[in-house]
């Protein structure tokens, strides 16, 4: 999921950096006082989630949890995920500093998109139907992220279809796990703090 330094061509890296600056600016504007603690929490969970490796056969994949951040924060997920990515790059060496912009866009933009599309559904209906929508949002964010990663690689010269297929198929288990996790998180949030989604839908 994290593209490493040197894998992308310069125009893609620069384009990603510019896009991420725009996204962060939009996100900071959406980040009001009430939502800063939530953003911090989600940033921390994103940071740590990447260390949780889910063993699947001889291999393993790690969680991303960008869908959850997008559903709870909308545009404000952008700076939250950016901070998580920056610290992952510095502390764990995931990705790299030059490709930080591209990685931020690849991970945060699908989160924001999932948030904008799915969040209105989560506040509606019963808690269970909200949780199901939450699960769909969690899986959708990962699917879109794999798609964005494939686009980044394709615009740097890789063939699009095999790259997209490889990244997408490898992340199907992540999608399943994150759909369950996000679904349960939404279920819990709807029961414990129902205004989390109603209030954020207004902003």
């Amino acid at each position: 999921m994290h593209i490493v330094d040197g894998a992308l061509s310069n125009p893609v890296v620069i384009g990603g950096a510019i896009a991420s600056v725009g996204g962060i600016a939009l996100g900071l504007r959406a980040l009001d006082l009430d939502r800063i603690p939530t953003a911090g929490m989600l940033s921390a969970s994103f940071f740590v989630a990447s260390l949780i490796h889910v063993p699947i056969g001889p291999s393993s994949v790690h969680l991303i949890l960008n869908g959850l951040a997008g559903l709870m924060l909308g545009w404000a997920a952008f700076p939250a995920l950016f901070v998580g990515l920056l610290l992952q790059a510095v502390f764990f060496g995931f990705g790299g500093l030059t490709v930080l912009g591209v990685n931020a866009v690849n991970i945060a933009f699908p989160a924001v998109l999932a948030g904008l599309l799915i969040r209105p559904m989560i506040g509606r209906g019963t808690a269970v139907s909200g949780a199901i929508w939450g699960g769909i949002g969690g899986a959708l964010a990962i699917a879109l992220t794999t798609f964005m990663v494939a686009i980044s690689l394709a615009s740097s010269g890789d063939a699009f279809v095999p790259a997209a297929k490889l990244v997408f198929v490898a992340h199907i288990p992540v999608m399943v796990i994150e759909a369950l996790l996000t679904g349960f998180a939404v279920l819990l949030a709807r029961k414990v703090k129902p205004d989390l989604f109603f209030q954020s839908a207004l902003a």
Binding site: M1, H2, I3, V4, G6, A7, L8, L31, D32, L33, I36, P37, A39, G40, S43, A44, F47, V48, S50, L51, H53, I56, G57, P58, S59, S60, V61, H62, V83, G84, L87, Q88, F91, F92, G93, F94, V149, S152, L153, D158, P162, A163, L166, V167, V169, A170, H171, I172, P173, V176
Partner: protein, 194 residues
Amino acid sequence: MTRALILLALLCAPLPALAHKVIAGVFASGSAIEGEIGLSNGEMAAGVEVIVTGPDGTELGRALTDADGFFIFTPTQPVRHDFRANLGAGHVANVTMPAGEVAQILGVAAQTQSPAPTAPATGPATGAPVLASLSPAERQVIAQIVRDEMRPLRREIAAYRERNDLQTILGGLGYIAGLFGIGFYMAARRKLSS
């Protein structure tokens, strides 16, 4: 449903993990350059094409990794060798062997017009008196044995370097708490002053 999910998960089993750092190394191996490419979780890159280029970007040759992620490349020119392998999905391995080391492999002096700054200062004379009684063939055999013995160690060191301990994680969490604390402080101040 659960069965379908498990089946789905099993279907994905042989795919490479895409969430790891790329580890790559090259070292002298007799008259050839031996390299190793893999991911930080211990999985090696099998059947990956390694493209070797010189300092000016011209292609010097290609090599293919075996099942253990090893490849062998025989250099012909005493120049800096850049090894690049694309493992797919955004994972690219980049390693460089300086001209001095390549020259040692070839048994010729490094080209004086392009001195490699990173070339280690290993004079060929240091070990010579001790090894004087050994024939070149014997030396080759000893070098081969030492390399084989070193391989698991080298892998372990690479894995150790990739380990994320609790301290790092707590440090990162501390940074997040601090950053969002500062953000909270600034937002609160702005709200108070307005």
